[in-house]
């Protein structure tokens, strides 16, 4: 490549004058170019053809702009083959960014880790960030820019957009509409501003089905202005969640989960969690007191609590159940005892008024400024998105929209059913869609523009607290995708501006100064821009908004709509990792279901039963029901969830996609079909009937009872100091094996685990674990090396729920080892239970003899060895297993060896914490700790030294190296079930 300071050569005068000949000649479909303004003459056609012939060979010499990527961890003097590099970037979901470090092997991003410097990550990630690399390499992504199905070059698109811009210029852009998702990118917002300044009559609409619409509306309702909210969970002794999945959903949940787990550790002050919720969530499972409450009843409960707390203008609610009152009394008691150090959180599934009530309660408790902070909104231009969508639909129906530019998002699929967005959109003359996949919206658009994945393009984004990050690409666009910045630039006076230039210029303008280069490099390197968080500001709640009395519907069936725990609003529907990831609590994969309480299912006369093929660990035959709400109906399989309130159904969104790719198309049912703008989160008055048909759901753990077995240890916070370790030496016939070097071991803190599943998918990404597909999950053959077991105790109406991540235990007396006839699984001198894939002949005896059943067998050739883009994703440090061999957790032996080699080179022992297993590194609550148990000062040794430490199936004397720390319950004395 030419050095940047070389003189600029030009070949023709036209090029000298700025015309881009490459654009003209590089296109092999030149004949399909739209007609230039003046008709093509024969001579100019021949000239063009001549130029094409002459310069065809030069197409490969396209000069790339010098765009620098700054490494995060190590300065790459040059790439050392075999040594990965890490780059900081950020992923945006629902208008909030979380910082990432992406591992790159020779230019291929292979694995996502959290960015410890980023406030929304703190080193952890959620499942969506883990799935991002697979999205990047998805072979089903939109690969070519098309106009009415014909392939077009970018230049043709630019030309068309210029033409639209030019024609709209006269009317100041009237008829020109932009539809974006929530925009937390300051640069993109500035571009939008610039654009709207240029076209004052153009309208910018926002619609983001992943964003927290109710929370934003709740802030507007409470304060009269837009505000962002963030919590300091670590300063709260009591947290009350009103249908809020604080620990695993929404902006900042990774940080909140970390704060929660830290404070809940035995040596810290403790935090008592109350949750009133409809769909059982991770937060509800971790709550000390969970109250199953229909979504429609939460408002009454919140009003009652607010009234009890003395919030002005709130009347007491009528008709609450006795159990609710008892729960509320305890909550009230605890909140009053912790004024200023408590927290009330309303969930996204609740209407704005509940959010406003939560703000009012926090205000009344003196929590504002202590445990909850308000600041300016994260988006540069927050909008009432539901209204924005209504306006857009209205304008389109009225024929006021000539051109609609949709920048990411899939409104045809996600828009409220009552708006009939697709019908309205068809009345627009020119429709443009920038999208990763050719989806339902693209299908209705003239111009389908492939979008660059966030790992392929420059941008910037703000986190839940306002901290801005530079989004830097890890790889050049695989399919020639364009970013939103480049698309918007098409309407500006610099249509060819690159995203890099736009982003950099924005921050140059913002930062200025001579040290900009240092600032820029540091920001890109760190993944965060220093001091960019929003400053807290004081707000006051307008209590007048609570005047309307609480409506407690006496009867009727609730239907709630929630983003799916693994594929969200459908944007990850084509991600096979996320599709196959068991959803927390239900352990369903590949489908959504009509989730109800077990009692409701049996009252309807249906039952979900394990099939003989696959059974509890694979195939559940569930009845198909028809759910009707306001005249619209859908059909889906009904599945019982312990702890789900009665008279209520929860539907997960994101399924029933009709156009997305061959992973996600036609799975489950589309709950959006009955979701309307006035019953966005839930509605009451739905009806449901059994159809008499059954459907096979792929469920990886249907049986969630412990059968009286000693699997989960629970200690009471008050009496935990009395507990004695349950690990004692059992007699053993043979002399004990001496481990002289490292002794690798793992401690898993059940008191910290929120069951979020990030570890499962991180393990999958790190260890090249194949996806097997629904048919194989149905047969009980999913391949995850690490699973998060869920167990319930107590009544099915409101059970206690426990999560237990189960990787290989690396037993010192491993039952799997002695039965292998070929020595394919053997013990290392560091205590690892190693699996030698090459040697395995596949008798599967080891799996039969493993009491933990953590071994996974390649019944077929599950790995995709054909698709080129998926080959790029694989971790080169881990063997890609073939058919017929057993595999299992290795404690990330590749990471152990990498650290050991580094340590040996420096002639020192491996430092504690130097090795982080893939599951450990992404865990938001630091529930998984790995290290040398021979070193008494290592973190893992100290954890194993706690009296909470216990071994799973200890009496089998397998001496597992992985042990568990008992979970701690912290019950309110008045509600303690045991008393």
């Amino acid at each position: 490549m030419k050095p940047t300071n070389a003189p600029e050569f030009w070949r023709t005068l036209a090029e000298h004058d700025g015309a881009d000949l490459h654009e003209l000649v590089g296109d092999e479909f030149a004949s399909r170019l739209p007609a230039p303004p003046d008709a093509v003459e024969r001579r100019s056609f021949l000239k063009l053809m001549g130029a094409s012939m002459a310069m065809a060979g030069m197409a490969g010499c396209t000069r790339q702009p010098p765009e620098q990527i700054v490494p995060y961890v190590r300065q790459p003097e040059e790439i050392i083959p075999g040594r990965p590099l890490y780059y900081a970037t950020a992923m945006t979901l629902g208008g909030r960014a979380s910082g990432l470090l992406v591992e790159s092997h020779e230019g291929r991003p292979t694995k996502v880790e959290g960015n410890p410097l980023h406030p929304a990550s703190l080193g952890a990630t959620d499942v969506f960030a883990q799935g991002a690399v697979l999205d990047l390499y998805d072979p089903d992504r939109m690969q070519t820019l098309t106009y009415l199905g014909d392939i077009r070059p970018w230049s043709a698109f630019l030309g068309a957009m210029r033409a639209i811009a030019t024609s709209a210029q006269g009317a100041k852009g009237a008829g020109l509409r932009f539809l974006t998702e929530s925009i937390c990118s300051p640069t993109l917002a500035a571009q939008m501003d610039e654009l709207l300044a240029h076209f004052p009559s153009a309208v910018w609409h926002q619609w983001d089905s992943a964003a927290d619409l109710n929370a934003a509306a709740g802030a507007r309702l409470a304060f009269g202005s837009d505000a962002s909210i963030r919590y300091a969970v670590d300063r709260a002794a009591v947290v009350v969640c009103l249908d809020a999945d604080l620990l695993s959903y929404g902006a900042g949940h990774l940080a909140y989960a970390r704060q929660f787990a830290t404070r809940r550790r035995p040596e810290n002050a403790g935090i008592r969690l109350y949750a009133a919720e409809s769909m059982p969530s991770s937060t509800g499972a971790r709550a000390d007191h969970r109250l199953p409450t229909r979504a429609s009843q939460i408002e009454a409960l919140a009003r009652q609590l607010a009234a009890d707390l003395g919030v002005a203008g709130v009347g007491r609610a009528e008709g609450l159940a006795q159990e609710t009152h008892a729960w509320l009394r305890a909550v009230l008691n605890d909140l009053n005892a912790h004024r200023g150090s408590s927290l009330v959180v309303a969930g996204e599934g609740q209407p704005p008024v509940v959010h406003a009530l939560a703000h009012a309660m926090n205000g009344a408790l003196g929590n504002a400024g202590q445990t909850v902070f308000y600041a300016d909104p994260i988006e540069a231009h927050p909008a009432d998105q539901m209204q924005s969508m209504r306006d857009l639909t209205g304008a389109m129906n009225a024929g006021q929209v000539q051109a609609l530019v949709i920048i990411s998002g899939n409104p045809v699929y996600t828009a409220p059913a009552d708006l009939k967005f697709a019908d309205a959109m068809n009345k627009v003359a020119v429709r443009v869609h920038l999208s990763l996949h050719a989806d339902e919206t693209s299908a209705l658009c003239h111009w389908q523009v492939p979008q660059a994945h966030f790992l392929e393009s420059w941008s910037d984004a703000r986190a839940f607290d306002g901290t801005a990050s530079i989004v830097q690409p890890l790889i050049a666009p695989l399919y020639g995708g364009r970013s939103a910045h480049e698309l918007l630039a098409a309407f500006s006076d610099r249509p060819e501006a690159t995203a890099y230039a736009v982003v950099r210029q924005f921050w140059q303008k913002r930062h200025g100064g001579a040290d900009f280069e240092n600032f820029w490099r540091q920001s890109v390197h760190d993944g965060v821009i220093p001091d960019s968080a929003m400053a807290p500001r004081a707000v006051s709640v307008r209590t007048a908004v609570f005047a309307a009395a609480a409506q407690v519907p006496a009867s009727g069936l609730d239907v709630s709509f929630r983003n799916d725990p693994t594929i969200y609003d459908g944007r990850f529907a084509n991600n096979a990792w996320l599709q196959e990831l068991p959803k927390p609590l239900t352990h369903l994969t590949w489908d959504n279901a009509v989730l109800v309480s077990p009692a409701m299912l049996s009252r309807l006369g249906g039952s979900a039963t394990p099939a003989m093929t696959g059974g509890e660990r694979g195939q559940i035959k569930a009845p198909i029901v028809e759910v009707t709400y306001r005249g619209r109906s859908i059909r889906g399989a009904m599945f019982p969830v312990a702890g789900h309130p009665d008279q209520a159904m929860t539907l997960h969104l994101g399924y029933g996609r009709t156009r997305v790719g061959h992973v996600g198309t036609d799975r489950g049912f589309n709950a959006n079909a009955i979701r309307t703008s006035d019953a966005w989160s839930f509605g009451t008055g739905a009806t449901v009937v059994l159809t008499g048909e059954t459907f096979s759901l792929a469920c990886t753990q249907y049986h969630q009872l412990m059968e009286g077995r000693d699997l989960i240890h629970v200690v009471d916070r008050g009496t935990m100091d009395d507990r004695r370790s349950t690990i004692d030496e059992l007699p053993w016939m043979f002399p004990a094996v001496e481990y002289t070097g490292y002794k690798w071991g793992m401690a898993i803190d059940l008191n910290a685990c929120t069951g979020c599943n990030a570890c499962v998918i991180s393990c999958q990404a790190e260890n090249n674990i194949p996806v097997v597909g629904k048919a194989e999950v149905l047969r009980g053959r999913e391949m995850h090396w690490l699973r998060v077991d869920t167990y319930h105790a107590g009544p099915a109406e409101n059970p206690d729920t426990y999560f237990q991540p189960v990787p290989c235990m690396h037993c010192e007396n491993a039952p799997c080892e002695i039965v292998c006839p070929v020595g394919a699984t053997v013990h290392s001198h560091e205590g690892l239970n190693d699996m030698v894939y090459n040697r395995c002949v596949g008798t599967r005896y080891c799996s039969n003899n493993s009491p933990y059943k953590v071994r996974r067998f390649n019944y077929f050739l599950y790995q995709d060895w054909e698709t080129p883009s998926l080959q790029l994703q694989r971790n080169p440090d881990v063997t890609v297993r073939s058919r017929g061999v057993m595999e299992k957790c290795t404690y990330c032996v590749q990471r152990i060896n990498e650290a050991k080699i580094d340590a040996e080179k420096e002639d020192r022992p491996v430092r504690d914490g130097e090795i982080q297993t893939a599951c450990q590194s992404v865990c938001p609550t630091e529930a998984i700790v790995f290290g040398d148990i021979g070193d008494p000062n290592s973190r893992v040794s100290k954890l194993k030294g706690e009296s909470r430490d216990y071994a799973l199936l200890h009496d089998l004397n397998t001496k597992p190296r992985t042990t568990y720390l008992a979970t701690i319950s912290d019950r309110h004395p008045d509600l303690d079930k045991s008393k």
Partner: protein, 461 residues
């Protein structure tokens, strides 16, 4: 008649009074009758039909195995946690069936039970074919069968060496030794008869082929003296194998720590079960064969009754095994053992357990009645039922123990696929096809040994 009564060894029920060979035969007529099946009678339409059906089923096996190697074990229903299912069930079932041959040949020979003579040849053949069918499963149930030779101690440059603590390696040795010794035993026993066939064959091919395998047998006194010694030695060698093979097969389970597998009673219980199923299979085969080939004179009611008694005894041992399993599950006071037993009886595979009790424990009690023991059709039906029961026993032990073990989170279920069934039925086809070939081309009853039990053979010294 007095001679024959003497051979009854003092047994006083009806079986002792019926002869092991019908009266009126001479050395020549015995030879004529048995060798004619091979040499002169030719293949009947019935034989062709039976062979064709069996051969087609055997081909279904080859197709199933071909597809298995092409696609992987996934074509079967095996999964996690049920990593073994039909494959090992069928393996143990066939190996069990393969027990009767050696038991009849070797142990009864050493115990001088001369009634064994008319059934030992085809019982041994049955053993060989059953072991061949059994051998298919451990080989092809591996994920990478082309590497299964790694389980053999073959010196190589890859440092691949068997892991001798694994019961599967013991299996490899036990089964291959058993197969080798059984084959030798059967072949040595065949040599004098092959010479007879060589001498009587009217076709050139027959003379050459039988001649080659007769190893130059001329029937001299020296030949007979050496033959007797070799045969006795082999019988001595084979006798411990009868016990060892199924003991070691039971170790596959007993050595594992899985509830339902981990039990010290397994070796004797498995050996008894193997003899049980082996004799059931001999009855299943002997009853139709003697009818079709008119061999009621050679395989007499006495044989059937004796085998029925063995069936009854081993059936009772097996029933004792089931009882002790259940008792120990309770007596151990171990949660997992207790659950395992309860799940066996009332879980999703409870039907298989109760069916097994019906087949293996309840049905054979009919054999207490002499009328049942001496009537052919009920005996045939009971033998079939016992065969089914013994298959169910292995299925119950393997699948119901695996499908719900220690961690409830790992509980699952197994159902066979079409390929599981085609492979199983295919091995039955292979077994029957080999048996049909055996009946057609080799003397199914030992000619020379039958001659020795004729009254004329008893020479006063």
């Amino acid at each position: 008649m007095t001679e024959r009564r003497h051979e009854g060894h003092g047994v006083v029920d009806g079986a002792a009074s019926s002869p092991v060979i019908a009266p009126g035969y001479t050395f020549g007529s015995v030879t004529d009758k048995i060798s004619s099946i091979v040499l002169t009678r030719g293949a009947s339409h019935g034989w062709w039909l039976g062979f064709l059906v069996a051969f087609l089923l055997a081909n279904m096996l080859f197709v199933s195995l071909g597809y298995l190697v092409l696609k992987g074990i996934g074509i079967w229903g095996n999964n996690q946690p049920v990593a073994w299912a039909f494959d090992i069930t069928n393996f143990v079932w066939w190996i069990g069936i393969g027990h009767a041959g050696t038991l009849i040949s070797a142990i009864l020979l050493l115990l001088k039970q001369t009634w064994r003579t008319s059934i030992n040849r085809f019982a041994e053949a049955m053993t060989l074919f059953a072991v061949a069918c059994a051998g298919i499963f451990p080989l092809f149930h591996t994920g990478r069968p082309w590497l299964a030779y790694w389980m053999l101690p073959i010196p190589n440059t890859m440092s691949v060496w068997p892991q001798f603590r694994s019961p599967l390696i013991w299996d490899v040795f036990a089964v291959s030794t058993y197969a080798t010794v059984s084959l030798l035993f059967w072949f040595v026993g065949l040599v004098p008869d092959l010479a007879t066939l060589r001498d009587r064959s009217e076709s050139k091919i027959g003379r050459v082929v039988y001649g080659v395998f007769a190893l130059g047998w001329r029937g001299s006194a020296r030949h007979w003296q050496r033959y007797d010694m070799a045969y006795l030695l082999l019988a001595g060698l084979a006798t411990p194998l009868v016990v060892s093979v199924h003991t070691i097969v039971s170790f596959d389970f007993a050595v594992a720590q899985l509830p339902g597998w981990h039990a010290t009673i397994f070796p004797p219980y498995f050996v008894a079960g193997a003899i049980y199923s082996g004799f059931a299979m001999v009855l299943t085969l002997a009853i139709p064969i003697r009818a079709v080939y008119g061999l009621e004179d050679f395989i007499t009611s006495r044989h059937l009754q004796n085998m029925a008694k063995i069936l009854l005894v081993t059936g009772l041992i097996v029933a004792y095994g089931y009882t002790i399993e259940a008792f120990m599950a309770w007596y151990s006071a171990n949660t997992y053992e207790e659950f395992m037993m309860a799940n066996r009886m009332t879980g999703p595979y409870g039907f298989a357990y109760w069916l097994l009790i019906l087949c293996n424990v309840v049905t054979p009690q009919l054999l207490w009645f002499r009328r049942i023991r001496s009537s052919v059709v009920p005996l045939f039906v009971i033998s079939l039922i016992v065969n089914v029961g013994m298959w169910l026993e292995r299925f119950v032990i393997i699948v119901t123990s695996l499908h719900r073990d220690f961690l409830p989170s790992s509980w699952g279920r197994y159902a066979p696929t079409i390929w599981d069934i085609s492979t199983y039925v295919g091995t039955i086809g292979l077994f029957l096809a080999l048996l049909f070939l055996f009946l057609r081309f080799l003397p199914m009853i030992s000619i020379f040994e039958m001659r020795t039990i004729l009254p004329q053979a008893k020479v006063k010294e």
